[in-house]
């Protein structure tokens, strides 16, 4: 009945039974369970990490998307502004060009008019000169119809002509 004396028989059976069952379970029992659960834990941890990564990537994508949208909008407004500017410039340029063309045409026309005027004037002058010569001829013919007048006129002319070289020799 002694409680603190280990009994040989029980020691023997305990060693045998515990040993055999330990061997069996260490080979076919516990490692199967623990390996599987460890594998599962690893997978769960990996999945969580993946999910986190994906979430981060999604956030990044979203940000990128927003950024792109923003950029597009900016570009759009920039293009609109550019288009307006270009339109204005083109119109202005066209106007300026038209003006220049008009000016050029105008000045050319003026020049032509001037030239025409000049030539017309020259014609007129020539005509006048001709007329005046004819008039003078007629007058002279009328004046010099008698002898006396003819001589007087010759004298006058000789007079004038003789005076003129003296002035020149001085």
């Amino acid at each position: 009945m002694n409680l603190i004396t280990p009994d040989m028989g029980l020691l023997f059976w305990m060693v045998v039974i515990f040993g055999i069952v330990f061997f069996l379970l260490a080979k076919f029992g516990f490692p199967v369970i623990t390996d599987m659960v460890d594998e599962r834990s690893a997978k769960i941890a990996q999945s969580l990490k993946d999910a986190q990564e994906i979430e981060a990537r999604m956030a990044r994508w979203k940000q990128e998307q927003a950024q792109m949208l923003e950029e597009t909008r900016k570009e759009q407004s920039l293009m609109l502004r550019n288009a307006t500017e270009t339109k204005a410039r083109i119109v202005a340029e066209a106007k300026a060009q038209a003006q220049a063309e008009a000016d050029k045409i105008l000045s050319e026309a003026k020049l032509q008019i001037e030239a025409e005027k000049e030539s017309a004037l020259r014609d007129v002058r020539r005509e006048v000169a001709m007329l005046s010569v004819q008039v003078a001829e007629k007058v002279l013919r009328h004046e010099l119809s008698d002898e006396g007048n003819q001589l007087a006129f010759i004298d006058q002319l000789v007079d004038e002509a003789s005076k003129a070289p003296m002035h020149n020799s001085n």
Binding site: T5, G9, F18, V21, I33, V37
Partner: protein
């Protein structure tokens, strides 16, 4: 723990017929154990006392043999006494396997009932063990006793449970489905020990030790709970038997000391201490290494034994007070049933805690022996 000890102790003392001589409390057999932790003499003295209590009662008047009942339950037997039916004991006779001075003997324990002699063997009524007639000593006794049968049954139960669980994991893809049924129940326990092993032993080689720790934990847990079940398949006081806990502790001891690292042995035999301590330290360290299995043995043994004794004492109070009239016995029965329920619940807790403590200390000892130079 101590509080419940005290309560059960006081309740035993409160029994009016208990006239215990105080000297006997200290009569602890000294030769059986060389080093016992501080708390064990309390348990021993209590069990010793209950022996005396029972004996004095039995001799004083016709009374129930409390110590006999208690020791029948916590001790070992050659037959499994289940109950009494119409005045006759209902018991499973178990095979006796003995190598005495006359060679091997195998027969049913029925032949040795009531002090009968058979093939030169008989059961010593005082010790309750088979004794050789010729020499008067214990022969080599490998009988399938109550404890051995209980050991076989509970270990087989554990084996079946774990193998069924392992089969679940083989047949199912654990990566795709959650464990169900038995696997769901066993997995947390196994993984608790597995994680404990990782924490205490280290990432490098805990996998090598995890199966032993799982085995120790689940085996102790199974048997602790089997011990709490009061009827046939359970009821044997296996983890409260020093032979069992000694074997468990020795398994831990050998695993620790046969797989220790060079650093572990250097710390024992040649630690970095001043020269004048060099000759003393190995002695202390070896002693400490030896004390580890002893403390493991005693802790589990004493806790489970004490739990059994407490519960049995509670139940026995009902029978002790039966003769003091209906009022007294009725009142005390209520009290003892309440305490019995409380103690049973407590024992369920202790069953788990002790299995956990044994496993955790084992893993810590292994972890210390796997230490590497920093």
């Amino acid at each position: 723990m101590m509080l419940t000890f005290l309560i059960s102790f006081l309740l035993l003392q409160a029994d009016p017929s208990a006239q215990v001589p105080q000297d006997d409390i200290t009569a602890v057999p000294q030769d059986d154990i060389t080093a016992v932790p501080q708390d064990t003499p309390v348990i021993l003295s209590e069990s010793e006392e209950s022996i005396n209590l029972g004996e004095s009662e039995a001799s004083a008047e016709e009374n129930i043999d409390i110590a006999g009942i208690i020791f029948e339950h916590i001790g070992d037997e050659y037959e499994w006494h289940i109950t009494e039916w119409k005045g006759k004991p209902v018991a499973i006779p178990l095979p006796v396997i003995v190598k005495s001075s006359t060679g091997w003997h195998v027969f049913s324990s029925e032949r040795l009932q009531h002090g009968a002699h058979y093939q030169g063997l008989y059961i010593d009524p005082e010790k309750g063990k088979i004794v050789d007639e010729a020499t008067g000593k214990r022969p080599l006794d490998l009988s399938i006793t109550k404890n051995v049968l209980s050991l076989m049954m509970s270990t087989a139960l554990l084996l079946v449970i774990i193998l069924l669980t392992a089969r679940w994991y083989k047949r199912h893809d654990a990566l795709k489905e959650a464990p169900t049924g038995l696997a769901a129940a066993v997995e947390p326990l196994v993984m608790m020990v597995h994680d404990m092993a990782r924490e205490n032993i280290g990432e490098a080689d805990y996998r090598k030790y995890s199966p032993y720790l799982c085995m120790a934990f689940l085996w102790i847990l199974t048997n602790n709970f089997m011990g709490i079940i009061p009827f046939f398949p359970g009821g044997a006081n296996l983890t409260g038997n020093i032979a069992i806990t000694l074997v468990l502790a020795l398994f831990t001891f050998f695993i620790v000391n046969l797989t220790g690292t060079r650093h572990y042995y250097k710390e024992i035999f040649n630690p970095d201490v001043p020269v004048f301590l060099k000759p003393i330290m190995p002695v202390i360290e070896v002693f400490s290494a030896m004390m580890k299995p002893v403390s493991l043995t005693i802790r589990l043994f004493a806790n489970m034994l004490a739990g059994h004794i407490m519960i049995l004492s509670m139940v026995c109070i009902i029978f002790i007070v039966a003769k003091y009239g209906p009022l007294m016995s009725g009142g005390m029965t209520v009290v003892s049933v309440l305490f019995g329920v409380f103690l049973d619940a407590l024992e369920c807790l202790v069953a788990f805690i002790q299995a956990y403590v044994f496993t955790m200390l084992s893993s810590i000892y292994i972890g210390l022996a796997r230490a590497h130079e920093e």
